[in-house]
Assembly symmetry: C2
Homo-oligomer: 529 residues x 2
């Protein structure tokens, strides 16, 4: 493809993308292709000779589009949003043009330096404490995802802990101490922590223990929860070295009690023993607003903080921004330098080699899209964007509250997320429901795994009604929602935080919820009576 062909192809691609965005809300939001649909549409091997762009492009609408779930659609209210915007697309385009697997500073100094600058900008915009700025001992790094960031800090925390545990030892003695300690290490997180924490522990080869949270505390992890977990670890001869806390849990957007938790850790452990990480993948974006800034004050006592600009801050996936208080914690753990990666700049120690801040070696020029987004929207634009969704979310929650006959909200609506169940007319109340599940929690099960399908309690009945409503709505393709199981309760999550989402879309989703629920509850009781 020569320059002229590229110009023509790129213009055609841009028109197709603009048209896609302009008409996206008319498309079925969640794909309804059958598994294996695409293989039937494509040849079984690549062409021997090259094809023209026009022929390739045709296949996007014909073959790819039916298999897309449209995350940019204003009818997408599932998972958490994944905002993409025009300036972020331009960032990705330039990044591809400037391709460099920029593992070292010298691979392309601008890749490293822009990353440092824009992450400092972002830290300020999020009202993070100064300890996370690069001018001191901390700094930010762009990772691919919050899950990758968690895996990275778990490994760094493990190495920091083991290094201290083996201090002063050498040779066999050191190896033995390391092995013994390793076998007792445990990662802690609440039972509302994202599953990527369990996966990070698995990757790092250490145990993982989840701490039960209760609905009384709005599913937030408390200081008392952590205290109890630390004591239990002691009884079991386990050494906790990492604690994940969350700002905006996946199921309900709960906010852990950072102040209480960091106080407990400070009072019971030597500094640097337990690495405290804040997973703020989605809700961290709200810290741009002054009214949320107070939350960030508590982060002065944590080791690391991660938020995804690719969720709620208008930047296409991937742009997970990880900030650490002490960058040496990462580089001491993750630096491996053979001769072919050595260079005079790295040797001086004056430059940053981001390969030592992450699991993979190479990295893309992701700072460009963050730079473009921050500049195109400005700080005030970002605040307005977040506030608009917060307001929309509050409206939606109020509509739901207005239909107590149909719905129950099972956790405080927050950050544009509302989590609800169908209000089974025969259901015992929420207090009893809690009692029902508390037993299982105290038996040590991870609550998110509790799905009491087997007994025919009232809760099962409600769960099954809610599930029917959820499945029928998603099958319609008019809106796309996610379900979750919270302390044994099957719930529907509605989060509307796409750039294109407006009141009309949420209202439509609400009406679909009402109609579907009336219909299903009506049928259920007709059958029973």
């Amino acid at each position: 493809m020569n320059a002229e062909e590229f110009r023509k192809a790129a213009h055609a691609a841009i028109e197709e993308i603009i048209d896609y965005y302009d008409t996206i809300q008319n498309r079925r939001v969640v794909s309804n292709v059958e598994p294996g649909y695409l293989r039937k549409l494509l040849p079984s091997s690549p062409p021997e000779e090259g094809e023209q762009w026009a022929d390739i492009q045709k296949d996007i609408e014909a073959k790819i589009m039916p298999g897309l779930t449209h995350w940019q659609s204003p009818n997408f209210m599932a998972f958490f949003p994944a905002n993409a915007t025009y300036p972020s697309m331009l960032g990705e385009l330039y990044s591809a043009a400037f391709t460099a697997p920029s593992f070292n500073w010298i691979c392309s100094p601008a890749v490293t330096e822009l990353e440092t600058v824009v992450l400092d900008w972002l830290a300020q915009t999020l009202h993070l404490p100064n300890c996370f700025l690069s001018e001191g001992e901390g700094g930010g790094v762009i990772q691919g995802s919050a899950s990758e960031a968690t895996a990275t800090v778990v490994v760094a925390a493990r190495e920091r802990y083991l290094t201290t545990a083996c201090e002063g030892l050498e040779g066999k003695g050191r190896e033995d101490r390391r092995d013994q300690t390793m076998s007792r290490l445990v990662v802690l997180g609440s039972d509302q922590s994202h599953s990527s924490l369990a996966k990070a522990a698995l990757i790092a080869g250490v145990r993982y223990k989840s701490i039960p949270c209760s609905s009384e505390n709005d599913l937030a992890l408390t200081g008392a929860n952590v205290q109890a977990a630390l004591e239990q670890c002691k009884c079991e001869d386990l050494e906790p070295f990492f604690l994940l806390t969350t700002l905006g849990t996946t199921s309900t957007c709960a906010v852990d009690r950072f102040d209480e938790i960091t106080t407990v850790i400070r009072e019971t452990r030597s500094p640097g023993t337990i690495w405290i990480h804040v997973d703020a993948a989605y809700a961290g974006a709200a810290l741009v607003c002054d009214e949320y800034a107070h939350i960030a004050k508590d982060f002065v006592a944590v080791d690391s903080f991660d938020m995804n600009m690719h969720k709620w801050l208008l930047t296409n996936f991937d742009a997970s921004c990880l900030f650490v208080r002490n960058r040496k914690d990462l580089t001491s753990a993750l630096s491996v330098t053979p001769s072919y990666l050595r260079n005079p700049f790295s040797d001086t120690g004056l430059v940053t080699d981001y390969r030592d801040w992450q699991i993979p070696l190479g990295r893309r020029f992701r700072a460009l899209k963050i730079w473009f987004v921050l500049r195109t929207y400005g700080v005030n634009g970002l605040k307005a964007h977040i506030r608009r969704h917060i307001t929309l979310g509050e409206k939606f929650a109020n509509w739901i509250r207005g239909r107590e006959d149909l719905f129950r909200i099972i956790a405080p609506p927050a950050f544009a997320l509302t989590v609800l169940t169908v209000a089974n007319p025969k259901l015992i109340d929420w207090g009893l429901l809690n009692e029902h599940t508390e037993t299982k929690v105290s038996e040590g099960l991870a609550t998110s795994d509790i799905m009491p399908h087997t007994s025919t309690t009232e809760l099962d009945h409600t769960n099954s009604l809610t599930k029917s409503v959820y499945e029928r709505i998603n099958a319609s393709g008019k809106v796309f929602l996610t379900s979750s199981v919270v302390n044994g309760v099957y719930a529907i999550r509605v989060v509307s935080a796409n750039e294109k989402a407006d009141e009309e879309h949420l209202r439509k989703a609400f009406e679909i919820l009402v109609r579907t629920t009336e219909d299903i509850v009506g049928q259920a009781y007709k059958v029973e009576s």
Copy 2:
């Protein structure tokens, strides 16, 4: 940025990219900015109000460009290439527009299904054995980098080994066996393996042992090397569970003896005990050519194979293609499924959820760019592209051989890479040089760490001459090369495999090498005499 503004901005960006590619060879190939240059050019915080694209775009040429090292320049002959092409850029653009962190099939079925199809296409194109196709028990997955792929398979191999080791045990007994085994696990690779192997072992929390290779075997890992390493592990009560072999090592593009190695493993270990991985990050691309296809035959006996389309196959970073013989090895190790990731499609087991094939949860739509590249070039176009560089590389090596007075080639030139040193007129011959370093190897040092700076042997002298030549050339900014240390020898790597690289560029690089070497050697002996 609305649609009209995007159209205008995107057209301007495309013109800038076309102009950049058309004139790239006139730019200084390696950036010569001072560390910290960019912070001085940018405001210390993001703007309060949004800015216009025209103002943002201006800063690309003014502030970013001076800090770029131009990997697409035909004068870039460092590391390994990182080809980006117009069709791959279009793939990245669409991927950004269709943003979805596609962890599950239902997140966007086309993302998963196109990946499965194009990786099957690629496996065929690379002449890989059928066991790596998705129609059987294997399949391919796109990772971010070869280093990430290595970390992924090391973790999967560890889990596979531990699961077998703990078979039949439960509770405390199982935990104890797991801990004991874990402390004895060791990852093996040759001393020419990429440093990401050591890092993968670190991430997985296991030991790493590098196996010395000798220049007599052209720095390839042999069956005998592996046999000796296995015996040594037995003596040290270590349990090897993973072996990394390489097709095209970083320093010299050596090709390990896959047939011998797999035979040794098969004859001494039960099946499934030691996971054999092939790191073919760069040279794997050559397997598209029929004349290299015979190498892939031996992969019938390995567990996994990884190559980067983003090095030599015209696709912008990132597109590391990992193929496994048994996809269950990945999913059994890496699947963690909370309720909010459950869905009817995944529950059927009929769809692929690539999150279980990798470390991070989310993933981009990287299959698009691979699809566009395979279709734009066609299989014959890819073969022609590789063969052109192989021929260029052979020419370059011959020019170097023609100046025996100035240069020594220290390993067989391969895959367009030539590795050379300055021919110190006073130097003892290469045989003696080997003797000099073998001692250190037998002392158990990783050879890549041997840099005998302290003694003033002939080798030091040559190393210092070569280093001077290398540093002066890179400082000129006319071409960009990489150095490496191979069995104690400081060497210059020249690899020209950019799409834009032609004979004239290599010839220019050769002439710069000759002039610089004549100058430096001349000076050195003038000073001495």
